[in-house]
Symmetry: C2
Subunit: 216 residues, 2 copies
Amino acid sequence: MNPTPTPADITAEAAPPSARAEATRARIEETAERLFRTMGYQKTAVADIARELGMSPANVYRFFASKSAINEAIAQRLLGAISTELSAIARGPGAASARLRLLMSTVFERQSTVFFAERRMHDMVAAAMEEHWGVCERYIDFIEATIRQVIEDGMNSGEFARTDPALAAENVMHAFIKWTHPVLVESCILRKGETVEMLRAQIAAMTDFVLGALRA
Amino acid sequence: MNPTPTPADITAEAAPPSARAEATRARIEETAERLFRTMGYQKTAVADIARELGMSPANVYRFFASKSAINEAIAQRLLGAISTELSAIARGPGAASARLRLLMSTVFERQSTVFFAERRMHDMVAAAMEEHWGVCERYIDFIEATIRQVIEDGMNSGEFARTDPALAAENVMHAFIKWTHPVLVESCILRKGETVEMLRAQIAAMTDFVLGALRA
């Protein structure tokens, strides 16, 4: 019933145990991320990644179906790391307003580090937004849920007025788009000549404004 | 001292009086806008505009240096018309909060009509944002000044708390970017599948939120 195995099938069956496979996946991701950041995503081929690792392109394809799949894994890891930090801030000590302030500035600072190189957005970020919107959307949803959690804490402690926390979190997300949407951040910096310091001051002003609305 | 006039100089000297020139300019703009909207900006050549008007391309070039210059004039006219309407709202009767609400929804409604065709942004709008950012920037500055004027009215009447009106206006501008930036509006509709009705509901929610902040 089954077709005769090809050499690739044999190789696949001889695959190393899971832990070693995981280590190889991680090495491929790390090498690919470095090349995407330095050479550019569009200019990097799977063959370049394989050469850097001293393995064959066929071996890379055993772990990832395509360059795009490698980029998806990188996006998941990077956004996952930011999410973990945001979650810790949200569940941390201190007033809800202080946590919300730290949350919004951390989103900007971490994303700026991950998304940009010398003011330009990495083309790997643009590709991820184009090809793996689901990953981006889950990250956005996670941030909104995290904001909502802090807002609920503030409502429960009496720091914020009691309103619909889901709607309040949505409003806060919308109010901060200028500094969370990579395309807008790039356009502010490249086109409007705004500096990172200016953007930080705007975020601080918006945080004061939003806290006023939440307390109202 | 002066070089011998060329035929083009003669034509220029024989130019019709100003009122007639203005009428021709307006006809060129109107025809170009119609072609840009139906055929697309990139696909429309100055020769197409001239043919529609029954004049020579050379005659069009007597009025506009390039297709881009025609598009700039169109952008100025369209954004100028919206600005006039916004100005009337800001200086109109009623509470500052009601005027601010009408202002923000009118920006969205008018821009949606002018910028979009069947959910996609016109390429003439994209070209204007790329090539004539100064025109766009003056329009953005005008909206911010108009918002500031209404906020000052509200502070003077005691409707809003007294704070720095310029900073408050900047915060309001930032808070509404999702529904005023054409690239974001397009991406909400095309990528995230949000409907115009959903965007209107979000604008209404953000207006309530912002008014809470202004009153705080």
